[in-house]
Symmetry: C2
Subunit: 524 residues, 2 copies
C-alpha cells in the first residue's frame, strides 16, 4: 500500500491540473485494485471512503478556519489547486475577502514550466545570449557550445544563396494564386517531395519515402511534442535513454507526459541497454504507469553514439513485444554508416516507428528552423497534420528549402563536406582535451564531444559538477552542457558542441578550457 502511494505521486508530476486529478485518482484506484484482486468489492469501496474521510478531516482542521485564504503558505495553496475536492472551501474564503482583488489565476502547467526552466542549462543559454563571443566585437564573450546548431558549411550555403536568392524566394512566392490559395499548415507539397528525395538519397539508400507521410514543423522540439501529444495522454510515460538533450524536458512539461530516463553507462560506451529499458518498463508497469514508447536520437545527443542496425533491430523487437512506439530523432550528418529506424522497420512494422528529422540543421541553415516528421501510422499522421497549424513554417522559408533541396549536387556536396569537417573538428577538439587530461568517449557521430571531466571536479557529486559548470561559464567563458541537465547517471560529464564553431576557434576553446582544468587539478 505504501509503495502504491509513492509511485502515484511520482507518476503525476509535471502535468497540469488534469494530471493532478489523475494523480489523486491514482491514489485511490490502485488501492481498489489491490483489494479487488482478493475479491473484495465492499473493501474496494470502503478503503477509498476512509481515505476521503481522513483527507477531508485533515484539510478542515488546517484551512477551514474561516480566515483569509491568501494568508496560507504556498504549499497549502498548491495543494488546493491540485485537489479539486478542496477548491470549494477556497472559493468561499475568496468570496468573503473580495475588496483587495487577488491577481488573476495562471495555470499550474504554466507555473510548472516557469519553475522548471531554471537549471544550469538555462543559466548558460541566458549568459550566451547576453554576452555572445565575437572574435572582433566581443572577444571576451561566452563561446556557446551547448546548442546543437550546425553551421559547419555556412560558407557553402552563403555562396549558394548569392547565386539563387532572387529566383528562389519572393520571385516565386508572390504570384497571387500562391499567396491567396489555401496553404496547408503541414507544408507545401513541393517541399515534401524534395524532402522525400533527400531522405531517399541520404537515409533510405534509394528506397521510396512517401511525401504524403511527411509533416513539416518549425523545429525539432515541436515535432517531438506533436508526436508525444499524439501517442500518450497526460500521466503516461516514455522511456528515454539518457544522457539526453535537455530540450526534451520542455516537451515533457508541455505535454504532461512523463519521461523516464534510462541510463546508458560509460562501461557500455553509452550504448542503449535493452536490459535497462526492460527494467524501467517493468518498474513503470509495477507503478501502474502506462509506457507508450521510447524516444531515441540517432546519433545519440549529446553522447554521439551512432546506433548500429543490430541495436535498432533489438529496439524494434522490444517495442513490438511491449506494444509501444519508437520516436527516433535522426540526422544524416554523422556518417555514411548511418542506419535509419525507417529502414529497420520497413518490412517489419512501420506503424510504431515515427521519425523526426532535423532538416534545416542538416543543411547548415538552423535559422530556417524547419524540421519534419515522417510517420506511416495513419492515425498519428492525421493527428500531427492537424497539430501542424500550431507550428507552421512560413511559405518563403519553405521556398528556400525547396530550391536548396532540389539542387541535389549542392546538397550532396554540402553533406559530404559537413561530414569531413565534423570528423576533423571532433578529432581536433578531442585531441586537445585529452592533452588537458579530459577523455572523450570514442563517439562516432553527433555534433558534440562528450567529455569526462570527473577527475577535475572538486567533489564527486552533482554539486561538484555544477561548480565545474559555473567555472567553465564564468572563468573560461565556455557554455557547455552539464551531464546533470541531461539526466546522466555518471557524474562530471560535459557536452561540447563544435558544430557552430569555425575550425580556427577550436584553439581558443581549448585554451579557455585549459584555464579551468589546470586550476581544477592544482588543489588536489
Amino acid at each position: 500500500m505504501k509503495k502504491n502511494k509513492t509511485s502515484s505521486s511520482s507518476g503525476g508530476g509535471g502535468g497540469g491540473g488534469g494530471a493532478e486529478a489523475a494523480a489523486a485518482m491514482r491514489v485511490i484506484v490502485p488501492l481498489q485494485g489491490v483489494v479487488q484482486g482478493r475479491g473484495g468489492l465492499v473493501l474496494g469501496s470502503v478503503i477509498p471512503c476512509a481515505l476521503l474521510y481522513f483527507i477531508q478531516l485533515y484539510f478542515r482542521s488546517r484551512g477551514g478556519g474561516g480566515g483569509d485564504g491568501r494568508e496560507k503558505s504556498p504549499p497549502a495553496a498548491e495543494a488546493e489547486q491540485s485537489s479539486p475536492a478542496l477548491q470549494r472551501v477556497h472559493s468561499r474564503t475568496l468570496l468573503f475577502s473580495r475588496g483587495h482583488a487577488p491577481p488573476p489565476h495562471v495555470s499550474s502547467r504554466a507555473a510548472a514550466i516557469a519553475q522548471n526552466c531554471n537549471g544550469p542549462y538555462y543559466a548558460g543559454l541566458e549568459r550566451a545570449h547576453d554576452d555572445p563571443y565575437d572574435d572582433v566585437a566581443n572577444p571576451d564573450g561566452v563561446i556557446h557550445l551547448a546548442l546543437s546548431h550546425n553551421t559547419l558549411v555556412s560558407d557553402l550555403v552563403g555562396e549558394w544563396v548569392a547565386d539563387h536568392c532572387a529566383e528562389s524566394l519572393f520571385g516565386q512566392e508572390l504570384n497571387m494564386s500562391d499567396v491567396a490559395a489555401y496553404q496547408p499548415f503541414d507544408g507545401l507539397m513541393e517541399l515534401k517531395m524534395a524532402t522525400s528525395r533527400f531522405m531517399s538519397w541520404h537515409t533510405g539508400k534509394g528506397r521510396f519515402f512517401d511525401p504524403e507521410n511527411i509533416v513539416l514543423t518549425s523545429g525539432a522540439a515541436p515535432a517531438v511534442e506533436m508526436l508525444v501529444f499524439s501517442l500518450a495522454d497526460t500521466g503516461n510515460a516514455f522511456l528515454v535513454p539518457s544522457p539526453y538533450c535537455p530540450d526534451l524536458d520542455e516537451v515533457k512539461w508541455r505535454t504532461g507526459v512523463e519521461f523516464i530516463p534510462v541510463p546508458c553507462r560509460r562501461t557500455d560506451a553509452f550504448a542503449i541497454s535493452i536490459n535497462a529499458l526492460d527494467r524501467a518498463f517493468n518498474q513503470a508497469k509495477n507503478r501502474r504507469q502506462k509506457v507508450r514508447g521510447i524516444i531515441i536520437s540517432n546519433p545519440s545527443n549529446p553522447a554521439g553514439v551512432l546506433h548500429s542496425r543490430e541495436v535498432l533491430e533489438t529496439l524494434l523487437d522490444f517495442a513490438t513485444e511491449k506494444n509501444i512506439h519508437i520516436i527516433s530523432i535522426e540526422s544524416v550528418l554523422a556518417s555514411e554508416e548511418f542506419v535509419s529506424m525507417t529502414e529497420v522497420a520497413e518490412d517489419v512494422d512501420k506503424t510504431r516507428v515515427h521519425i523526426v528529422h532535423a532538416l534545416s540543421n542538416d543543411l547548415s541553415v538552423p535559422s530556417l528552423a524547419t524540421e519534419f516528421i515522417y510517420t506511416c501510422n495513419e492515425t498519428v499522421l492525421a493527428s500531427v497534420k492537424k497539430l501542424a497549424r500550431f507550428s507552421s513554417v512560413s511559405v518563403p522559408t519553405q521556398r528556400v528549402l525547396t530550391s536548396m533541396l532540389s539542387d541535389t549536387k549542392f546538397v550532396g556536396n554540402a553533406v559530404k563536406v559537413t561530414r569531413e569537417r565534423i570528423r576533423r573538428m571532433r578529432a581536433g577538439l578531442a585531441h586537445g582535451l585529452r592533452k588537458s587530461g579530459i577523455e572523450c568517449v570514442g563517439s562516432d557521430g553527433g555534433l558534440y564531444c562528450w567529455a569526462d571531466m570527473s577527475p577535475l571536479i572538486r567533489s564527486y557529486s552533482e554539486k561538484g559538477e555544477i561548480e565545474m559548470f559555473d567555472r567553465l561559464l564564468s572563468v573560461a567563458k565556455i557554455n557547455a552542457v552539464p551531464g546533470c541537465s541531461c539526466h546522466s547517471v555518471e557524474l562530471g560529464w560535459f557536452g561540447f558542441c563544435f558544430a557552430s564553431l569555425r575550425e580556427e576557434d577550436i584553439d581558443i576553446v581549448l585554451r579557455r578550457i585549459r584555464t579551468v582544468s589546470d586550476a581544477g587539478r592544482s588543489p588536489r
Copy 2:
C-alpha cells in the same frame, strides 16, 4: 445530484486522459461538496464509496467475463481508457491474448482532434485545397471565402519586395555571428522593436509598447493556444462570444480547456452582451467549473463588429469583478476608429489583458505566418516565452518583416489602402447580396460579410443550413463559413471573406451565389 453528474460530464469533454480522470473526480467531488455543505463528513465519504461500489459492479458484470478484451464494443473500450480504475482489468486480458498483437496505443486527445476536425468547415477547406479557383488555369474551381487571409494589397507588397529583396533577406541574415549566435525562440529584438513602433503608431495612438512584452509566434492560433495553455488548466473554461472563428475550436481541443460559446444575437447587431456573459459565468460556476477568461476578437470574426470603447470598458470591468483574463485578437485594418484593449486597460489593470495581433495578415503577407502576443503580465510573459520554442518563426522571415515594418511610409500607405479596399469590397459584396435577397449585418469592420441566408434555406434547422452550405460548395463552388461551425445560435447565417479576392472577382462570386439563391427561393 443528477445535475452535478451532467455538468461534470460536459466539463470533462475534449481533454485527454488527465482530463478524463479529472472528470471522474468531478463526479465524486461535487457530491462531497453538497454533503459537506450540510456538515456531514461521514456522508461526504459514504456517498462516493457507494458510487465506486456500483461503478465496479457495473463494469464487472459487463467487461470482466474473461473473454478477449478486443471483442468489446468501442464505447466499453473508451470507458476503460477514461477511467483508470478499470485499466487493470484490461491490461490483464491483454496479457492473456498476446499472439495477435493489437495496434499500438494512440492518445485519446489525438483521437479527439481527429474526430472533431470533420464538420462542414473542414470539408470546405479540403475542397478549396483540392480544387482551387484560378481565373485562367481552373475557372470552375472553388472560390475560397472561409479563411481570413488578407492579400488585399499584395500588389503593393510585390512592388516593395522587388525593390528591397536583396538587402532585406539573406544579405543580412547570413553573416556568421547572426546564424551561429543563440537566437531566442520568441523573436529577434529588431523585429520586436519594429513591431512595437507599428503598434504605437497604428493601435496605440502614440503610446509606448515595450518590445520586451512582445512574443512572436508562427500564426494567430498558436498565439491564442499559448495564452490559453498559460491561463487555464485542463477542464477550466473560457467564455467566447459567438459566432466565433472555427479555428478557435482547435485551440480548445489542443489545450483541453473548454470554450463556452456566449451568443451574440441579431437583435443586438451581434454586439457582445455582458448579461449573456454574466449568465454563462454563473452557469459555469454552478457547475463548479472554473472560468479563467474571455476570448474576443476585435473586430469580431466573422460577424465583423468593431467593439466600441464603452463595450471594451464594460468587458474589462466584468473581467475585473470576476477576476478573470481577457484575450483580445486584434487587427488594425478595420477602421481608424479601432480601439485596442491595451488602450482601455492602460491605467486600469494591465495584468489581465493579453493581445494577439495578426501582424503578417495586417500587412497582406499571410504566407509569412507571423503574429505576436503582447502581454504585461510577468508570469504569463515568462510562460509564453518558453512556449515560443514550439512555434518559432524562421530568421529570414523575421528579417523580411523587420525591413517591411521599418519602412513606415510603405506600412502607413499599405494600411490606408487596405482600409479603403475593405470598405469598397465589403460594400460591393453586401450590395450585390442584398439584390439577391440576402441581408448582411451592418458590419463596420472585419474581413467578412456576415450574411443572413435563412430566407433561402429549405428548412429552418441546422440541417437546412448545412444543406445550403453543401449547395454553395458543390453547385456555386463557393466555400463559405456556415454559422453552425461558428457556434452561431441564429440559423442560416454565412460568412464570406473577401480579403483574398481581387475586386474584379466580386462579380463572379455574386453570380455564383445567385445560382443557389435563385434555386433556393423557387421551391418555396
